[in-house]
Assembly symmetry: C2
Homo-oligomer: 121 residues x 2
Amino acid sequence: MTTTDLPLAPTADVAGCCGPAVTRAVDTDAARELARAFKALADPARVQLLAIVASQDGGEACVCDLTAPVGLSQPTVSHHLKILVDAGLLTREQRGRWAYYSLVPGALTQLAASLGEVTRL
Amino acid sequence: MTTTDLPLAPTADVAGCCGPAVTRAVDTDAARELARAFKALADPARVQLLAIVASQDGGEACVCDLTAPVGLSQPTVSHHLKILVDAGLLTREQRGRWAYYSLVPGALTQLAASLGEVTRL
DNA sequence: GATACGCATCGACGAATGTCAATCCATGCG
DNA sequence: CGCATGGATTGACATTCGTCGATGCGTATC
């Protein structure tokens, strides 16, 4: 749902310099969605968290596994995890008194695809 | 150069909850590099700018082509373009009194690859 | 029930970010 | 040379973001 299409750039004539320019807003919404997804990855701690979760066998990790490696306080780690969940990259599952986080299967791949399309249009 | 490898997560034993945890800092540097790259894409305006530049035939666009579509002031557009250049996603070429921006060939693709690797380790 | 533990939420604070108006630096043209 | 034009830089400002300590909530253990 966070994953989007790609911003399109229809062309039309403008006054000046070098030729055709763009009239419409180049899919502002699509760009905003993409940016929102990338913003979730725009922090070292969050990239680390994703990598660690992915490296754990079972693809699961509880917060206590994540706090130490990233060198941040528990509230901060929880904060980052929430961002990743909201971005659709992680899922949270409460089991007993631990919360287990795991990757959303196609999420990163699909995001990578969206990235590639920007180039290819 | 901005494109990096992937953060690794070596495992070891920890006190508590659910099993093995991580000792080392999980390639802080790699994570930081990746995050730095994604930060460049973490703004709608910049995503739009990339898309527009890519859609122009010749793959070039001068600032005057970009100001209108994104609906931002000229200084702001210049600012975003500088960020994209610094991130290694665009190149700037001054020709006459216009500055032409174009995509760095493999940049986005390579970034997408790095993204995919986070999942696959 | 009381207590301990894992984790989320809240409030606060400093740092970084996006934006614009004003200005400055080139380059081209008269 | 003087002037206009495209674009970058500067300075200021509001907003967002990352971080932590303190606190609250739910779940297991005694």
